[in-house]
Point group: C2
Chain length 152, copies 2
């Protein structure tokens, strides 16, 4: 199956890892995964500083290499919410609870343009030790680490 | 992965087939699929007549046997919207666009009860030849057949 997933992935935390793992699982051994990585300009909307695109890309590559996933994957720059997801031919998009509305919107636009809708796979959020979601903002604030361990 | 899916499956049309195929694909060779099949009482809410549970169950079994899916699957009676999905330990629920809200509600209740949320996989609807959704109601009305071919 051809799968798309997107994000800023900074820092790469356990929620991102689940998102990536599920994408590769869904794609299967003969499938393909396209990872949209937000550009520095697009990512600058975030409330906290973001590391440069090449650093975030390198971390993704290291993570994926370590998992020995099939080689058919690609990181492409994501300069808006949709990236290539409107025009591309693919089968499923993997999202978090937060980004589910974007996937629903992508399907709506695809259909309006005469294309076919894709499957939407929403992963369940990964919880930190304190029972709240792991998020980059919480990690940046120093509340938790990338695995959701409470630091304060 | 342990996957749950539910429906009335009468008659078993190409939309149902996609729902089942995706469930087994997601479960993988070592996973498990639990199919909730609506009881005759629960299914009687539908606007058109429904064949008895044993007939619908037999059709599901024939379809699954023909696909040579891994043996770890089970059909259980579904006597309300949730069935065993609130209490069961599983990883993902597979739904159509119509039943996505039920899955979101299941996750909400699971969390309120102190359980963990599950992944939600929404399949894209299968379109009939006329570009509208395949549905049991349309088949019952004689507009299309189970593969979405227009009959009138």
């Amino acid at each position: 199956m051809k799968v798309m997933v997107g994000g800023t992935f900074d820092p790469l935390h356990d929620g991102h890892r689940r998102l990536l793992d599920r994408s590769f699982e869904l794609a299967g051994s003969s499938g393909r995964v396209v990872i949209g990585l937000t550009t520095d300009t697009f990512a600058s909307r975030k409330v906290h500083p973001i590391r440069p695109f090449p650093d975030r890309k390198a971390d993704l590559e290291t993570y994926i290499a370590g998992k020995h996933y099939p080689p058919n994957w690609l990181i492409e720059p994501l300069s808006d919410r949709f990236g290539s997801a409107i025009e591309s031919d693919f089968d499923a998009i993997v999202v978090s609870e937060e980004t589910l509305p974007v996937a629903v919107e992508i399907n709506k636009i695809r259909r309006e343009k005469g294309g076919r809708k894709v499957d939407i796979h929403q992963i369940s959020c990964v919880l930190a030790e304190d029972g709240r979601w792991i998020s980059s903002t919480r990690i940046y604030r120093g509340e938790i680490d990338v695995h959701g361990h409470v630091l304060q």
